[in-house]
């Protein structure tokens, strides 16, 4: 359905994203994980064709959707895809709706634009979709303003907007990061149900490995603007071969006894201008050796999964 190959993105002279590849099919969920600053959101913006909005441009690679390369698609045609065939769910529901407009018209816009509906038909569709998203009294909600609703409710509205034109692909950029923990689980379950009911292809961008484990079929682990490991979720969780993936999995809190401690990863993701030479992860990597600082690693493929680490063959033998 959607297939990204070797995607590179640049802002002026800096290139915060390079060599990112993944693909999703209908009814499938792919997780893109990594810490903040690893290029996840840029990937989402690239697929939406919204890079010019933030001053970036695609420098290489292809984004193939439904047989056509989106990197060569003119803006006018792209607008038909956005919101029509590809829906976007953004990170912070508190600021993703226009505060001066009522909820109803904001959702109606999508059906009017992409399905050619008139105002009444669009409103009927909006109320229907809000209903399927388990929003009580849709008609009442349509007459409300964004500031009169909770974050979880607003995120459902954003999801409704993304779904209104019956898209094939949904891109969810950290859809639960800004929400309460209890609401997070509801939204994730909702997205999971939608994928199954509507045969959607879902690109779920998150920094939460436990969310990936619960919902995704495939996963791409990103670090410093590059994919460092990808593959089916079971394979990655069973045998993580990149030290970064191992560290991310180790960060999932488990157990409730007093001995269980929260783990983190030492250091922070380098900023774009400070991307290290060689393997981008080597300054923080527990098993880095001399070669890691000089030579960028290539992907070592094993079945459906691959890891970009010089020691990928031996790494999984020693759990982090």
């Amino acid at each position: 359905m959607l297939s990204v190959r070797d995607l590179g993105v640049a802002f002026g002279a800096v290139e915060p994203l390079s060599g990112v590849s993944f693909s999703v099919d209908k009814g499938e969920t792919i997780g893109i994980v990594g810490e903040s600053g690893s290029g996840k959101s840029l990937t989402a913006m690239s697929v939406m064709g919204l890079l010019p909005l933030i001053g970036g441009r695609i420098t290489g690679g292809t984004i193939v959707f439904d047989g056509q390369d989106l990197t060569k698609l003119p803006e006018r045609a792209y607008r038909k895809l956005r919101g029509g065939k590809i829906g976007l769910i953004t990170q912070n529901p508190m600021t993703s709706l226009d505060p001066l407009k009522k909820i109803g018209p904001q959702v109606d816009d999508v059906a009017r634009l992409h399905l050619g509906m008139n105002a009444n038909e669009a409103r009927a569709r909006t109320e229907e979709i809000l209903g399927t998203l388990r929003i009580p009294e849709p008609a009442l909600i349509c007459d409300r303003y964004p500031h009169q609703m909770s974050g979880g409710m607003k995120q459902r509205i954003v999801i409704a907007m993304a779904l209104a034109a019956d898209p094939d692909v949904l891109i969810a950029d950290e859809p639960t990061t800004a929400l309460d923990v209890t609401v997070q689980a509801q939204i994730i379950r909702l997205l999971d149900d939608l994928v199954k009911q509507r045969d959607l292809a879902l690109v779920l961008i998150t920094h939460d490995m436990s969310v990936v484990a619960q919902t995704c079929d495939k996963v791409v682990v990103m670090y410093a603007g590059r994919a460092v490991e990808y593959g089916p979720v079971e394979a990655i969780f069973d045998r993580p071969r990149h030290p970064y993936t191992q560290a991310l999995i180790a960060c999932i809190p488990r157990g409730l006894d007093d001995t269980a401690r929260l783990t983190g990863i030492e250091g922070t993701v380098p900023t774009v201008i400070n991307y290290p030479k060689g393997c981008p992860f080597h300054p923080r990597c527990p098993r880095a050796e001399a070669i890691c600082a000089t030579d960028p690693p290539t992907f070592s493929v094993e079945g459906d999964s691959a890891a970009a680490c010089h020691f990928a063959e031996v790494a999984h033998a020693q759990p982090a």
Binding site: L53, G83, T90, S96, L100, Y145
Partner: protein, 309 residues
């Protein structure tokens, strides 16, 4: 909701009006000098003076004077000008239309042209245009009106002979004053519009609007403009009050009558009733301006409507 807001906002005007009336009444007494000096002929006796003071009620207690004054205001009696010896209401009625036409036209000119220029410079984002706009805004906000007025007179009236040098007869005499006052306003409104639009463009929800597949033009007109207008309305509301009194120097240079000129002349002569009436008109204009601005903002922004009720 908007009616309720407007009503609450009107209620708030009561204490404000009271304080303003006290300040206006008191402020003239703080000034040195008094109007009787302007009326007395040289060599008048102390009795003559006392008689005049008593005639205008200036010998009474200040608080009594205030209540007499405010009572008269409510009855629409602005009293008689002490020095000019004419009913104050006549003087105001004579000068007000000139101020209103000049101020109103300048306001229209600066808001429409300012918003248009601000929008263009925010949307086009061309480096040359940008530099031109910044230069224009800098000039507009710093060049003093009276100096600009003289330059315009020199160029358009003296050299080209297109418009009259001064006076207030016919529409041609309005062009240069309107341009002079409007120039600063255009620069101010353009700057605020530009910044507000650029700010609105950076809001999170704009990404999602693009993601819905809306065109840039639709997003600008239906979503960004309403946001950008909020601060613009605030600025414009403040300038409504300015319409009546802000043109003093320009009125002076162009030899136009107006509330500002009347006030300045009355101040020079310590003509208390005239000064008070003029100040009251100006204060009313400012209050009315902010009221209109607040109500306009509330009608545009649901968050404001709810906050203050």
């Amino acid at each position: 909701m908007i009616l309720r807001y407007t009503f609450m906002r009107l209620l708030m005007l009561i204490p404000v009006s009271f304080s303003i009336s006290v300040v206006i009444f008191m402020i003239v007494y703080l000034l040195p000098g008094d109007p009787i000096d302007n009326l007395l002929r040289v060599g008048s006796s102390a009795e003559d003076r006392a008689e005049l003071v008593a005639r205008y009620g200036l010998d009474r207690n200040l608080i009594v004077q205030y209540f007499v004054w405010i009572g008269n205001m409510f009855r629409g009696e602005f009293g008689e000008a002490i020095v000019l010896r004419r009913p104050v209401a006549d003087l105001v009625a004579q000068n007000l239309p000139y101020s209103l036409t000049l101020g109103g036209l300048a306001f229209l000119f600066s808001s429409t042209v300012g918003m248009a220029l601000g929008t263009i410079s925010a949307v086009v984002r061309h480096p040359v245009l940008d530099r031109f706009m910044r230069g224009f805004i800098l000039l507009g906000s710093t060049v003093p009106g009276f100096w600009l007025a003289l330059l315009l007179i020199l160029f358009f009236s003296v050299n080209l002979g297109w418009f009259p040098v001064s006076g207030a007869g016919g529409w041609t005499s309005l062009v240069l004053p309107v341009l002079t006052i409007g120039f600063g306003g255009v620069a101010l409104v353009a700057r605020v519009t530009r910044v507000a639009l650029l700010d609105a463009q950076r809001e999170d929800f704009v990404t999602l609007l693009h993601a819905k597949g809306l065109s840039s033009g639709t997003i600008l007109l239906r979503h960004l403009m309403p946001h950008a207008l909020l601060p613009v309305v605030t600025i414009l509301a403040l300038r409504i009050g300015w319409i009546l009194g802000g043109a003093v120097t320009v009125e002076f240079v162009f030899g136009r009558p107006g509330l500002g000129s009347l006030l300045i002349r009355a101040l020079g002569q310590r003509d208390y009733p005239v000064v008070q009436a003029c100040l009251l008109m100006l204060a009313l204009a400012v209050m009315l301006g902010t009221l209109i601005g607040d109500v306009a903002q509330a009608s545009m922004d649901p968050r404001i409507r709810e906050k203050k009720t």
